[in-house]
């Protein structure tokens, strides 16, 4: 397997990008990520992005956003209608072939113009489920209750996950929720949004974008002091129906973590930090247990997606945040996780290491 590293990234995330288009959001981010390693678009061998038409009610939004890249002369480029972390996977695959050495990955999401929890119902079985319009919080709550009633975790322990996220997020300019003082009691006092999930149990809905530069081998070493090497990356999907899969273990996350570990030569449980893409505290718990993240692993040092969850970019942001921990020397091994679909149906795991 060819050595591929994250060599730079740029993130912007706020509650609502009311007066910015996706293009205006991405222009500074793409430039920041390229500039940080002294690259221009002509140096980039492959560009890949992720976004969703449904999110902002605009068809072909990615066509507009191509303007932000500067595709002149024309570029080798593709797009997934998925979280940008899957665009990163596609770019990693292209780098494996050996034709190119540098890839640009970006994704963005602007869900604030609509009611995101309701828009997401359109992901569900279009015959027997979507016409009932179960909103995303309610769907997450069905999973959380199963988890709590299985005896695996208490509501207070879930609240402690929210507290940890908010404490870790202090100092992260892209976090929407950050507090050094937050307590379990504070979380338990927040409004019950979808029983048993309280407001602080649910990821903070955000608008934002992320750009990441990947580089291969010696090119990566030239471009930055401490490349964040992708030692293993894998993604898997579970069955769609909420009634036909095990909602409290996320088998596809466990499988992806195992496969990534096979390539990396180290397990998910042996990392220093993990950045998780979860819609709720319950999902953080499911992932932590499912992927075997032990007590020594610092979970969500940036606050994770609980502190700010940009649909379509949250997974890519996890990779960027994990890579920053490597680049800064705060971690030697990291796990970044991205997900898609209701109740963690699809999961990607990326194991990253510094030299």
């Amino acid at each position: 397997m060819r050595e591929i590293a994250v060599v730079s990234s740029a993130i912007h995330q706020v509650e609502a990008l009311t007066f910015k288009t996706d293009v205006q959001l991405m222009v500074p981010l793409i430039n920041e990520a390229r500039d940080a390693v002294g690259l221009v678009q002509a140096d980039v061998g492959f560009t890949c992005s992720g976004s969703s038409d449904f999110l902002a009610g605009q068809g072909f939004s990615f066509v507009q956003t191509l303007d932000a890249v500067g595709a002149s002369p024309p570029i080798n480029e593709s797009h997934v209608e998925m979280d940008g972390v899957f665009a990163l996977y596609e770019a990693w695959v292209k780098l494996q072939i050996g034709e190119i050495d540098i890839a640009l990955v970006y994704s963005y999401g602007k869900s604030s113009p609509g009611s995101r929890r309701d828009v997401l119902a359109v992901q569900l079985d279009p015959y027997t489920v979507a016409p009932l319009w179960p909103d995303a919080h309610a769907v997450a709550a069905l999973q959380a209750r199963l988890l709590i009633e299985s005896g695996a975790v208490t509501a207070e322990e879930l609240a402690a996950i929210a507290v940890r996220s908010q404490r870790n997020a202090v100092g992260n300019p892209n976090a929407l929720r950050a507090s050094a003082q937050m307590t379990v009691a504070d979380v338990m006092a927040t409004a019950m949004v979808a029983d048993p999930l309280r407001a602080a149990d649910l990821a903070a809905e955000a608008d934002g974008g992320c750009a990441v530069i990947l580089a291969a081998g010696d090119r990566a070493r030239e471009l930055c002091d401490r490349p964040a090497w992708i030692r293993g990356i894998d993604h898997r999907i579970d069955a769609h129906g909420l009634g036909v899969r095990d909602l409290v273990t996320a088998p596809s996350a466990a499988l992806a973590a195992m496969r990534a570990a096979d390539s990396a030569g180290f397990s998910a449980g042996s990392v220093d930090i993990a950045e998780l893409h979860a819609a709720s505290t319950a999902q953080v718990h499911v992932l932590t247990v499912g992927m075997g993240l032990g007590g020594d692993v610092r979970i969500d040092p940036s606050g994770g997606s609980l502190a700010g969850d940009t649909l379509m970019a949250a997974g890519l942001m996890r990779v960027a945040e994990a890579a920053r921990q490597i680049a800064s020397g705060d971690a030697d091994r990291a796990l970044a996780h991205g997900s898609s679909g209701p109740c963690l149906q699809q999961n990607l795991v990326c194991l990253i290491e510094g030299d």
Partner: protein, 389 residues
């Protein structure tokens, strides 16, 4: 191996019958029909497939956001990786190329790739041009966008006015040789094509593509899988993708630089110096008839402003003795948008496998598959051959 990484073979192809409403199946049933045929053609079962790559055009068509989530079960994908590609009209081609890269990058041994659209669940004009507040809504559908570009080509090349009708008539004749094609019009006459109403002058109704339900799938394999196949396979000789912005000063809309660059790369990778003589059959994405001569020029099959002569002298017909183009009937005869690009790629593979049935070009050794999308901004191409490169 070489600059393309691991050798990639098309082991199997599966298509649904294309028609305006596939009222007999659900979305899952539609994609399974193509997928199961591809598996059968490749002598595979679901268990042999390592990963799935699926593509389609906007999710608005079916009102199903990120359909790979719902379709994971139907595509035998539980516990496996699945990717969902969307690059506008070129998506079927891009999807095939993403799947190819999973083989070339030695990630997987066998990958199922599939493009689909069930356009009958909504309406193409609605799904393709959702009105946006504050903007002036004066362009009805894709024809309104491409008509001025065609007009420009006609002005530039001096092509006779009826070249587009000749392409449409040829592709509808070809469609009669393809049992999967949507439009089967055995009694259609050239005069009827010419006399059809203008929709977006200079585009007549008869020169536009239909709106279809359908799916197309391929099973791709690595060199070992290709060598082990019992029947003929198609080997990938070259792949390329290019994108450019929609509107900028200096843009050549008739023959976009992204198209020319993409063609140059795909032919260079395939070791092809003169595509006109070295390619035996081409499946080119022609949703409006005039795009056949336009792309023939842009892709290097004809000199600038000369592509229409190949239409006029019949050399793009299946029995024209020249370069047969769209022997399947092309996009003009079947257009499930998200699958249309993959159909081009799959038909190219069928030709070099000698499995194209009545629309087989005898002895085809090298074939070209092409797709484009957006405002002629997104391009995906491949060259496949009967022999390993």
């Amino acid at each position: 191996m070489g600059s393309l990484g691991e050798h990639t073979a098309v082991l199997g192809v599966g298509q649904t019958k294309y028609q305006s409403t596939r009222g007999d199946v659900s979305i899952a049933g539609l994609v399974r029909e193509a997928a199961l045929r591809a598996l059968e053609d490749a002598s595979c079962t679901w268990a042999d497939i390592d990963a799935v790559v699926i593509g389609k055009a906007p999710d608005f068509f079916e009102g199903l956001m990120m359909p790979e989530l719902f379709l994971a079960d139907a595509l035998g994908c539980v516990g496996k990786p699945i990717l969902r590609v969307h690059t506008a009209g070129s998506v079927g081609g891009s999807t095939a190329l993403v799947a190819t890269s999973l083989i070339q990058g030695r990630i997987h041994q066998r990958v199922l790739t599939l493009g689909f659209e069930k356009q009958s669940e909504s309406n193409a004009t609605w799904a393709l041009s959702l009105p946006q507040p504050f903007s002036v809504s004066i362009n009805a559908g894709a024809g309104g966008y491409f008509s001025p570009i065609i007009r420009r080509y006609m002005a530039r090349s001096g092509a006779p006015d009826l070249i587009g009708c000749m392409v449409a008539y040829k592709d509808r004749r070809h469609a009669l040789l393809n049992p999967y094609a949507h439009l089967h019009q055995p009694d259609l006459t050239f005069d009827q094509v010419v006399d059809a109403p203008m929709l977006w002058d200079p585009i007549r109704f008869s020169e536009t593509c239909p709106s279809s339900d359908g799916a197309c799938a391929m099973v791709l394999g690595d060199e070992t899988a290709g060598d082990a196949a019992g029947g003929p396979v198609a080997w990938v000789h070259g792949t390329a993708m290019r994108s450019e912005a929609n509107n900028f000063p200096g843009r050549d809309e008739v023959s976009p630089q992204a198209s020319r660059d993409c063609a140059a790369e795909v032919f260079a990778k395939a070791g092809i110096v003169d595509p006109r003589t070295e390619i035996d059959v081409a499946e080119i994405y022609v949703p409006f008839s005039w795009y056949e001569p336009m792309w023939l020029e842009s892709l290097g099959f004809a000199e600038r402003d000369e592509g229409w002569r190949m239409v006029e002298d019949g050399s793009t017909g299946i029995d024209g003795g020249g370069l047969p183009v769209n022997c399947s009937g092309g996009v003009l005869s079947s257009n499930p948008i998200g699958a249309s690009g993959m159909i081009r790629f799959a038909e190219a593979a069928l030709q070099v496998r000698g499995m194209a049935g009545e629309h087989q070009v005898d002895g085809a050794q090298k074939a070209f598959g092409h797709a484009y999308g957006g405002g002629a901004q997104y391009f995906a191409m491949w060259v496949v051959g009967a022999n390993k490169p």
